[in-house]
Amino acid sequence: MKFISSDAIPELLEALSASSVVWAPRELTGSGGTVMFERWRTGDPIDLEHFSSLSAKDVVLPRTEKLFGYTYAFGGGLGGAFGNGAPAGEQLVIEPAEPAPPAVLFGARACDAKALDVLDALFNNPEGEAYNDPQYQSRRKSLTVITLACTTCDEACFCSSFGNGTSEKAGSDIIVYPVEGGLLAEAVSSRGEALLAEPIFEESEQAPPPLAETARIEGLERLEEKLPRLFDDMDFWQEISERCTSCGFCTYGCPTCYCFNIHDEMRSDREGERQRSWDACMFALYTQETSGHNPRPTLAHRYRNRINHKFSYYPENQGKILCTGCGRCIRGCPAGLDIRDVLRAALEEAPREP
């Protein structure tokens, strides 16, 4: 194990930020305690005590990212397409998005880091397979993840339901453990090992502290087979989704929810970008076709898809459950919905008692 004192952490972040974009949890100014992963700059405070409201997924899947930019070179611009004429293509110049710079994610939790490993199955699939996602890959390849092990948790946490819980190492390069006066650091990957060889880290004989044990639901892996049997039980889906307001927080806060929309944004009448932005399968228009037909017409249909995607479809297609038990969807739900109740009810293969 290595050790870094609390006083040396800003120095470490400073050194890392010389060559990398550094992301760290920070309490948003004037937010009354909302912690988010933000771009760290010299002098910024970090918060290693509180759990962040949103996950760290922005680091690999930004809320909005440029797919490419375009410029209408001479006159006309979009006026043509919206007016009587049309944009003449010769007037356009296309500029692909840049490759990602090296980045360090500091202070992710085990559930955040594991989410990267889960997302890798779809977005960072092995070389040679069709349809990689070069922008995700570029970010992921250049990312070093320094994970803060959880010695405390709250009642919404349920990562212990998934494999290693708080001691999960998937997705991390280094695990740091909070101890008196600083952090113990343990390398998980060779990239992590190289970083821990830096002299800012001291040798330590100290043992890591005991980690938190979070709420545990047994048998979640059985849902992949159980959920299809509940598929047509619309009374079940209707009942569990009744209080949902379709606000989409559960998907925005989730470290593994990745669906996105693609849209064009003009910066002027000459220049614009095609962008992708987070979307949410809980939104009514998410599946609505131009004709007005909507294959998921009700909240119950959309809620069913969300649960099935996480615990049945993604495991079927990618071999991994699309949930790491971070509990953000529980903490943030304005209607007080708890995904664990739904999972327990589904495991019993019967709707909850009213």
Binding site: L67, F68, Y70, T71, Y72, G77, L78, A81, F82, G83, N84, G85, A86, P87, A88, G89, E90, L92, V93, I94, E95, P96, A97, L122, E127, G128, E129, A130, Y131, N132, D133, P134, Q135, Q137, F231, D232, Y258, C259, F260, N261, I262, D264, G272, R274, R276, D279, C281, Y286, T287, Q288, E289, T290, S291, H293, P295, N308, H309, Y313, E316, N317
Partner: protein
Amino acid sequence: MAKLSDIPPREYNTPHNEYLPEEARVLSTTELAPGIRHFVLEFVDPARKEAFSFCSGQFMQVSLLGIGEAPISICSPPTIRGTFEICVREAGNLTGALHRLRQGDTLWVRGPYGQGFPLAEMAGRDLIFIGGGIGLAPLRSAIDCAVCLNDEFGELTVLYGARTPELLLFTDEYDTWRQHGRVETIVDEAPPGWQGRTGVITTLFDAVDLKPENTSALICGPPVMFSFVLGRLKELGFADADIFISLERHMRCGVGKCEHCVVESFYTCRQGPVLSIGQIRGISSALR
């Protein structure tokens, strides 16, 4: 700043931006029916134009930069090289702007995407095409392919329904198709004087003789059509594995990432849009 011509042509497995479209030029455009235009397109890049190939039933992501992008089926046969055709119904911002394109204008495309109709596996068989509305567009690609490769297939039967007579598409091609089989049309409602049929598409089955054991069915149309048509094909003795249906879903990425088009665990954009009934048996929400 790179020019589009500097960007290598799209192919699988190369680390490039999957979302980057390529420029295509409108060679001609005509109004097929009120609100529906037909476009003949070619890639501006000569190498791309030369290399482009696809299979009937596949789609392109078609866009105008600054307005948006949408998946649109190719309606010309893969036997025509160098150009490809699409059929666009005006329904929103993008399709409205596409309708304002004229000969010589350019638009942006990426693809082809998805699984088309497995015509190679249908060699030697009769084919029945069942289309509703603008669903004839992807079928026309397969019909023209079968017409062109005349010796490869048995008899062709086209059953086609639209809301009104003026919304029947590609009417000037039916005579050519009839040289290889039958074309029967029907409309939901018609003005006085209409000589053709009115009613639901399933009544057209009474007008044709089929040999179900040696016939593959290719279907594209609105979801409301599916259950009636599938029920009738079943009565006639068609096997699930011989019925192919092109599904429509709201799509964004076209490459199995964005999740909009998923039907339970499958991606309409990658495993579809064309699937056999055998493949979607048990996926109860696929045909809704």
